[in-house]
Each structure stands twice: as structure tokens, then as C-alpha cells.
Symmetry: C2
């Protein structure tokens, strides 16, 4: 037998599949683990995909001109003027992030906590993740002072650290780094000669427009790569479409060319019919904007309702401002959880909730945090209904919390948290 290279299945996808198996076996489950957004495809996007079903050419590796132009417009409307020639499309932002690590080379700084795949991708790319904690309540952006120290230490130890990943807004915490923190991160990256990979896939899921964070591309335009996709804002995870915006200038141009070369060797192009529909989505006609806004309102309403239930039993939680993620800390319940349930860490807590109550959450340990913490991630994306009709109803409901299937889930969650805290 060969020695097994070390790689584990994405924790979010694994949790999702495990819960689906229990549901298929007839068990009552409540899925708060998956990052999937259970909402219907906007009919206009379905139609665009169907109309493009005859497209079977590979097309340009970087994506069709229509899609790259549409994505450039999307960023321009958000204050980032963009050359379509510096846009690269891929089959999801996940493969783009991986290909960027290969294109840039060297080790990568990842925030702690952060999305499950950054560190795993770094290892697959032959690099080592350099973990740097975030500031309290400002997930997704490594503390700039700690970043300086960590990179100095890594370089002193002979490690070739070349980039830093940030998530704005953040997964798993659902929080948003302050503009000053983003600016300081960008300044530190410039000083340390690091490329910034800014994962902005949740950009459109900030509840109050005043809270929208600036991109590091505003402060360090020459070295910031921005990525986004359609999985979260338009619930098109299964369509696999993402885009990256490379910086102007020699560093950006070189990174762009290597990214396209890597893409040509790993995936050739994103599915052509999907590219056609994605181009329409990034053009943001009114129906797309409305659909996105309806999803955002639904996330906000349900995430606030779930957050209230966490705080009602004594868990600590930052204010709910973006995404459909909550990252409660059960530290105040530590003594009780240990005594009543033999639970001493995040993995024990999520295992108990899954096995005794059929409630799927992800442990903070999956996001790179110390195992002893009692933080877990809850995602509301699967609470909106099981059927297309329920999900469509949730999107248009004046008060989604009064819909029976959402109310039942929340009541069940109340019961489970109550039993846990008693």
C-alpha cells in the first residue's frame, strides 16, 4: 500500500452529506451545517441557462468575453474599476482560490478562524498555511499586528510566505472587519510584499448598506486579487461559477497569466451554458437585484431569529450584520455542558447535537480554532424549506418566521437548545 497523502473531505460538504443520509433514513434532522443556500433559481437565470444549452465549445480559458465584461461591470458598480482582460472565470470561486495559490506559490497566511478549505487547499498546493488570529468581532481579516509578527517569524525560519487570504464579510463568523482594519491589513501586506487574496463572495449579503466593508483592493490595488461567485448571493452553488479580479500592473499581470496557465491545465474552462447565465447575473438587471435582495432579507430575518435562541440559553454572539452564518460561543455554559453532557470542546458539542438531536452544526475546530473552545458555526441556508414551493414562499413572505416549516424548525431548535442548557 502506498502512503496516503494527507487530505480530508471538506467539513461543510461532509457534514451536509452525513445529514442527508440520516434524513434519507427517515430521521428528523435540522441542518445548520451546510453553507448551501436552499433557495430556488431565479426563473430568468434558469431560462438563460436553458437557452445556452447548445453551447459546447470550451471557449477561452479565462471565460467568455461576455462574462468577463459583466463581472467587470459588477465590480465597477461597487467602486472597483475593472479591466475585463484581468478577470478570470472558473468553475466556482473555490477552484479559482486553489489555482491562485498555485499561481502565486509559497506559503499563505490564513485567518483563524477561517473557511475550511483555505488551509486544506494550501496543503494540497504544497504550501503551508500560516495561521494568524483575527481581532475580536472582526472575522476574516488577520490582525495586522499579529500578521507582521507571524510573517517575520516564518521568514526568519526560512519560509517563503507570499500571500494572505481575507474573507469580507466573513465565513464562519458572519462578522465584518472594520474599514480601518482592512486598511491596516492592506498596508501590512504592502510592507511585507504579500499578495492579498480577498474572498468577497458574501459581499452582497451585508444587511445594512452602510456596513459594506471596503475591499483591500481600495488600499492596496497593486497587490489585491478579489474573488466572488454566484453560490451565495444567488444560491447557485451547484452551478459552479466564480470570477477573480486580478490587479493592474506587473504583479497583477504576471499573476493573471500564471492563473490562466494553471486553469488551462486543471479545468480548461467553466461550463459554457453556466457562463452564459452567469454573465446575465453579473449584469444585475432589476429582477436579479430584487431576487438577491429578497434572499438577503430572508437571511437577516432567520439569522436574527436563530441568534436570539442562542443568546436566550446564554451563548455569546457578535451582532448579526451579514451572511447567513452565526458563530456562537458556548463558553458561558462550559461548566454545565461538562457536568450535564460530558462536553468539553466544540467537536464534542457538535457531535452531541448531531447524534442525540439530529441537529447539524460545525465545530470551531473545523475552522482552525483550538479544539478546546466551545464555538460552533450555524448556517441558516437550509431552513427555508425542503420543496421548491416552500423555498419560493419563504423568499416572498412578509414574515417568513410565521411560515409553518420555518416556525417548526425554530421551535425544534428551541427545544434542542433548551434540553442542552437544562
Amino acid at each position: 500500500m502506498l502512503e496516503a497523502p494527507s487530505v480530508t473531505v471538506s467539513a461543510t460538504l461532509a457534514a451536509d452529506e452525513a445529514l442527508a443520509r440520516r434524513r434519507d433514513a427517515g430521521e428528523r434532522v435540522l441542518s445548520l451545517a451546510s453553507g448551501e443556500i436552499g433557495l430556488p433559481v431565479l426563473p430568468a437565470l434558469r431560462e438563460r441557462l436553458a437557452a445556452a444549452a447548445g453551447r459546447n465549445a470550451y471557449g477561452p480559458v479565462a471565460g467568455s468575453a461576455a462574462l468577463r465584461t459583466a463581472a467587470a461591470g459588477y465590480w465597477a458598480r461597487r467602486g472597483l474599476e475593472t479591466d475585463p482582460g484581468l478577470v478570470v472565470c472558473g468553475p466556482g470561486s473555490k477552484p479559482l482560490l486553489f489555482a491562485l495559490l498555485l499561481a502565486i506559490g509559497g506559503d499563505v497566511v490564513v485567518p483563524v478562524p477561517s473557511w475550511v478549505s483555505y488551509a486544506a487547499q494550501a496543503r494540497l498546493a504544497g504550501a503551508r498555511p500560516v495561521p494568524v488570529p483575527v481581532l475580536p468581532g472582526q472575522g476574516g481579516v488577520p490582525d495586522p499586528a499579529a500578521l507582521r509578527e507571524a510573517v517575520a517569524r516564518a521568514r526568519a525560519a526560512g519560509r517563503d510566505t507570499r500571500c494572505v487570504v481575507v474573507t469580507l464579510p466573513d465565513n464562519p463568523t458572519g462578522t465584518i472587519a472594520a474599514p480601518a482594519t482592512v486598511r491596516r491589513l492592506a498596508e501590512a501586506a504592502r510592507e511585507l510584499d504579500l499578495v492579498v487574496i480577498s474572498d468577497e463572495i458574501y459581499h452582497d449579503l451585508v444587511f445594512d448598506p452602510a456596513d459594506r466593508p471596503p475591499s483591500p483592493a481600495v488600499f492596496a490595488p497593486e497587490r489585491t486579487v478579489v474573488t466572488t461567485g454566484l453560490a451565495k448571493n444567488l444560491a447557485l452553488g451547484g452551478w459552479r461559477a466564480g470570477v477573480a479580479r486580478l490587479p493592474e500592473g506587473p504583479l497583477g499581470r504576471g499573476t493573471h497569466d500564471r492563473l490562466v496557465a494553471v486553469a488551462s491545465q486543471i479545468w480548461s474552462s467553466a461550463a459554457a451554458p453556466v457562463q452564459a447565465a452567469a454573465a446575465y447575473a453579473f449584469e444585475e438587471p432589476p429582477e436579479v437585484v430584487e431576487h438577491l435582495a429578497a434572499g438577503r432579507r430572508l437571511h437577516e430575518t432567520v439569522a436574527r431569529a436563530v441568534a436570539e435562541r442562542f443568546t436566550a440559553v446564554g451563548a455569546e454572539l457578535p451582532p448579526v450584520r451579514a451572511t447567513c452564518y452565526l458563530y456562537p460561543d458556548f463558553e458561558p455554559l462550559r461548566e454545565h455542558l461538562g457536568r450535564a453532557h460530558g462536553v468539553h470542546d466544540s467537536g464534542g458539542l457538535t457531535t452531541l447535537l448531531a447524534e442525540r438531536y439530529g441537529v447539524g452544526l460545525l465545530p470551531g475546530a473545523a475552522f482552525g480554532e483550538p479544539g478546546r473552545y466551545l464555538r460552533v458555526r450555524a448556517a441558516t441556508g437550509r431552513l427555508y424549506g425542503e420543496t421548491e414551493a416552500e423555498r419560493t414562499g419563504a423568499l416572498s413572505a412578509a414574515d417568513p418566521l410565521r411560515l409553518p416549516w420555518i416556525r417548526d424548525s425554530l421551535n425544534r431548535f428551541d427545544e434542542v437548545l433548551g434540553a442542552l442548557a437544562r
Copy 2:
């Protein structure tokens, strides 16, 4: 500036894009470079994709149960009984091949010549390709005796060689290794404890059923991974759907699990609407079988016609038996090409043909062969028409060589080869 990691754009995709730019600029071009099959999507498949446009869930990393079951049936009908639980779907067989290299680890033996991406993928995966020549007229399968020597040498030098890639039938040569060679390769792999990655994407494009090569999975079932996809047999390159069949037993199960883990971190899943249509294609209902047979007949007719033109000017060519690729050797014209055109190697020959005549071919050097050879690869997939109507006409024509657009291309090719050889 960072040091640039070494990676170059896929030669086939680069040649294709370069020629497209010349065509868009109004130049007369004849594209024999791309591996893309310029044929229309079967209407039934378009309909299946359109009907699945509402599918937006990620679904299982390994692909939907329907697609895995259909792919298992596809292989069973070809003599390889297959457990759907050992099938993994990806966004093309290209990403599956790359993920397999990461899942297996170590260095990989690649045939010389071989498809442009095997060696490039190995380097991106942090491995080194171990080049082993094929036997004359039997492309795609490393000479088993030479394989033994090369692996022994590599291991003596401390290299951890773990797998060997074969292509059956072959790209770039269009040839088919003899069954005895496949058997000897499988035996050598077992003796050397190598995993065999058998790229069988051209399996359905063998012109005479009696010529269909056995898979190495017949001879070394415990260690052979088979990959295929829909890009070549059904001209669905731009849809991005491939499948891998992992072996039964502990080695296969371990490789399967690591492959799924890698897939979960790099791409999540293939596009869900594409998976739905791909499941239908792999079920092989009569309309799919007929469409595939029509494409195969067209490849055979046009490839034979192009082959005749190469031999007419004195290039050497193995018999035309499979795929839409020809791999002529201009060695007999070496003296003339040097004297009349200053051409001394395959790169010089393809540059001359592209720049003076607008004819796109790929040099043997792109496939890992020594640069001084005068071998080039010609692909007929782009000769079938520019429009959907022309391509549909080519598929159904009793004698496609009499269709004006194909006849004109062949006449132009005659002129160009004549000018080259004069």
C-alpha cells in the same frame, strides 16, 4: 516581484485561442490544432440540460447517484463491471486526472509522446513526470520494458514513482496499443506496484469494433483507475463532465476516498444541470448511440482524407484507426524543409504553417517529444463546419467530403501542403 512558479498554458487551448484571434481579425485560417470536436449538441441532451436548469444544490462531491449509476452501466457494457460507489464525477476528466495525481502522490510515468497536460499537471501537483517512450505505432502506452528500466532508475535515484498514465486510444498519435502491450504494461505496473491511470476518453472513437483495446483494468483490476468524459465522443467539451472508475479493493477504496477529499477541497462538484444531462448520455439510449456513431463515421472519413494528403506529399503516417487525430512525421522531407523553408524541427514547421498559411497544427515537442523531430499533430474536429447548420449537415451527410465547406478546407490544405513540399 515574486519568483514566478513555472507553468505554461495548455498548448492545445493556446493554439486554439491564437487561431480564433486571427480568424476574428479576418484572416483565412484552417484550424487543425484544437482537440475540440466542432459538432452540435444532440437535441435530447440539450433538453435534459435545460430541464435540469433548476438544480442548484451542490449535491454529493462524487456526483449524483444517477450519474454514477449511469457511468457504472456504461463501463459494464464494455466489459468492466463497476460499483457506482467507486465512480467519481468531476468537471471534466482533466480535473479528475489532476486530482488523481494529488490523491496518489509521488511521481508519475507519462508516455512519450502524450497529451500536453499530463506532464504539466504532474509538475503542478509537485511531482515529476518520468517520461517513457511508446512502442512504434502503439501510442499512449509506455513500452513496458522501458518502463521497468525507467522506474528502477528513478527509484535508485530516490524518486518515489507511484503511477503510470496510459491513453487508450491515444492522443496525439491516434493509434491504439496492441492488447499484448496493454497486458504487459499492466503486468509491469503490478510488479512495480504502480497505480495505472487509464485515460480512455477516446474509447468510443475506435473505427472498427475489432480494434477496441482492452483496458488495463482487465489485466490489473486491483490497481487501474479508468477515466472518461463526454468531451470527445459526444462533442461536449464545453460542458465539463468527466468520470473516474476506481478499482475494487483496499488500494482502490483508499484512492477513491482521497480523490473525493481532494475534489471536495478543489471543486466541490460538477455543475448540477450538466450532471443531469451527463447521466442521460451515459445511459446510452438509442439516440445517443446513433449520434455518437454518426460523429465517429465523420471523424473516420475526414481523418482518412487528411491522412491521404499528408502521405501524398511524402509524410509518414501510421494507419488511421481511431480518434480524430493524425500524427504525421515529416522526416522524409527533412532536407527539403531545411533548404526551402529553413525548418529543422516540429516547432519550426508548425510556426511556418501558422504564420505563412494560417494553418494551425501542434508540434510534437508540445507532446514531450524531442524538438528536433518533424512530427506534428493534426486534429480534424474543427473541419466540420463553422455554423450549427453546417455541422449538423456534416453529421448526416452520406459523403461529407463533398460538402462545400469541408471540400474547400481539404482543397486549401492540399494547396498548403503542396506549397510546403514544392
